[in-house]
Amino acid sequence: MKFRTPDRAEMVAVNRTNLRLWCWGDPSLPPVLLLHGAYDHGRMFDEIAPQIAALGYHVMALDFRGHGDSGPLDTGFAWALLHLDLAMLVRHLGAGPVGIVAHSFGGGQAIGLAGAFPELVRWLVVIDGLGPPPAAFVMPHDIRSAIQDTASRTDRIVFGEPREWDSVEEMAQRRGANNLRLSDEWALHLARHGARRGQHGGWVWKADRMFGLGVPSEFNVGLLAEEHRRVQCPVLVITGTEHDTWRDLTQEEETERIGWLRARHVAVPGTGHYVHLEDPVATLAAITEFTDVFEREVGP
């Protein structure tokens, strides 16, 4: 693994918050935005971002609001809010429409942005980010308990203090236990840049604990399909082939959703949810082939 520290770190004030951008490459080149998944951060692209920049792009990895160094959340009901952040960020950058490489939850955000603001997105690469399985849209059987659980978790967050870990290494171990396919080196890298000092001298996760909370509301496969179908730009979907945490679509569901996007598809053998971390060479090759065709056929 060859992590490369970003060339620049910027903090951009948009949509009533501050968003952290980690940047590689020449700012005069066409912009590419890298979007991480839930509870991650922009430094997860430290290996592949400089290689994408070497293709001739100005690459910017975002810390979503509620993640990394960006501003906080008061809610997990943030789907639309993060769409707004993205739209205003791209407008603020002023470099025209962007290419996007997005992982997992970031893929859903990118699809939403491309559908609602087609003028802001040139092309899109979605890495295992086609949305949750149909079972995730079903209302909990015991709604009262679910609401009470959200309430007690909210109160613990608002009135309590976050858990402090003794060391970043301990956090990396936890991360590795949740994502068994991550190498130790990657788990440590993600923990190192996903943690900050707590009030009592330990370490706490930067990811906002409110992020996972919400209120019951409608979302279903029909709405998901409609969102995907709104995307007009060229799309490449990259997936793994192995069973993994957060990789829970059936083959049929995956194929159907790729069809909604009218996307090209590359499956990288031997990888799970974190395709770009597990096999950056194959991931970059797929991105390179896709962007080469795009730049040749569509141009600047």
């Binding site: 948009v14 949509n15 009533r16 918050t17 609001r65 501003g71 906080p72 959340l73 008061d74 809610t75 997990g76 009901f77 943030a78 639309a80 809010l81 769409h83 707004l84 739209a87 205003m88 407008r91 559908g115 609602a116 603001f117 209302m139 709604i143 009262r144 609401i147 009470q148 959200t150 309430a151 909210t154 109160d155 608002v158 009135f159 909370l213 919400g214 209120v215 019951p216 509301s217 409608e218 979302f219 279903n220 029909g222 709405l223 399909a225 409609e226 969102e227 709104r230």
Partner: protein, 228 residues
């Protein structure tokens, strides 16, 4: 009652002390005067805060509005129990129902809160995207929020998506008494009101008023509570 001293800075202002009746109003999102029109006509022991971004309450630190916050505020300010009544006005109706579904209050009132016409997924995504684009194009809604008065961002709805199937399933989990007040400002199709009210699991009452003025609504709620 006493507001906890360690609540976040955006907890609402204008909360009365000593509240035996346990009635709380969540005024509409984007109400130009916040809770003031309700406080002017409601019994003095009703809890009618200015919700964040309205009246004398500061905007949320994120500058954005979502239906979770009113649920938390109701939990923090309205004593739980069978005698407590939560009133959710229009955009806040869903939050009031969530609080009720979690067992947070003994009765719940929704004002113009039975939902509008049901939309297809295509129409819902159209509306969602139009709302996003409207906010992004509205400088006043994305510039820093004012320190008091109505935050222009609060004029935009929460964007809670719903459908007939969702409403029917979710409302069927609410077994407390429900009063659904419909005013001329309601967007619910008139011929669907009675059917929708029947979806609640507990005793539900439909009251159709000729005015959407707070005084008329307060009177209707008072009658309903008194008559059991």
């Amino acid at each position: 009652m006493t507001v906890p001293t360690n609540v976040p800075a955006n907890v609402p202002a204008n909360v009365p002390e000593n509240v035996p009746e346990n009635v709380m109003v969540l005024h509409d999102l984007g109400a130009p005067l916040g809770g003031a029109p309700w406080r002017a006509v409601a019994p003095s022991d009703w809890i009618v805060p200015d919700l964040p971004g309205h009246g004398t309450s500061r905007a949320p630190r994120t500058g954005h509005y979502d239906p979770m916050a009113p649920v938390a505020i109701a939990r923090w300010l309205l004593p739980a129990g069978t005698n407590s009544t939560l009133i959710g006005v229009r955009e806040q109706a869903h939050s009031a129902l969530v609080h009720a579904a979690g067992g947070g209050c003994g009765r719940v009132v929704v004002v113009d809160g039975l939902g509008g016409p049901w939309f297809t997924p295509r129409e819902q995504i159209d509306l969602f995207h139009a709302s996003l684009r409207a906010i992004v194009d509205d400088r006043s809604a994305t510039d820093p929020a004012p320190s008091s008065g109505l935050d222009p961002r609060a004029r935009y709805p929460y964007g809670v998506m719903t459908s007939r199937a969702f409403a029917q399933r979710f409302w069927a989990t609410i077994d407390q008494p429900v009063l659904a007040i419909e005013t001329p400002a309601s967007v619910t199709p008139i011929d669907e009101r009675a059917e929708r009210v029947a979806w609640f699991a507990g005793r539900s009452t439909l009251a159709v008023l000729e005015s959407d003025e707070p005084a008329a609504i307060v009177a209707a709620v008072t009658r309903w509570r008194r008559d059991g």
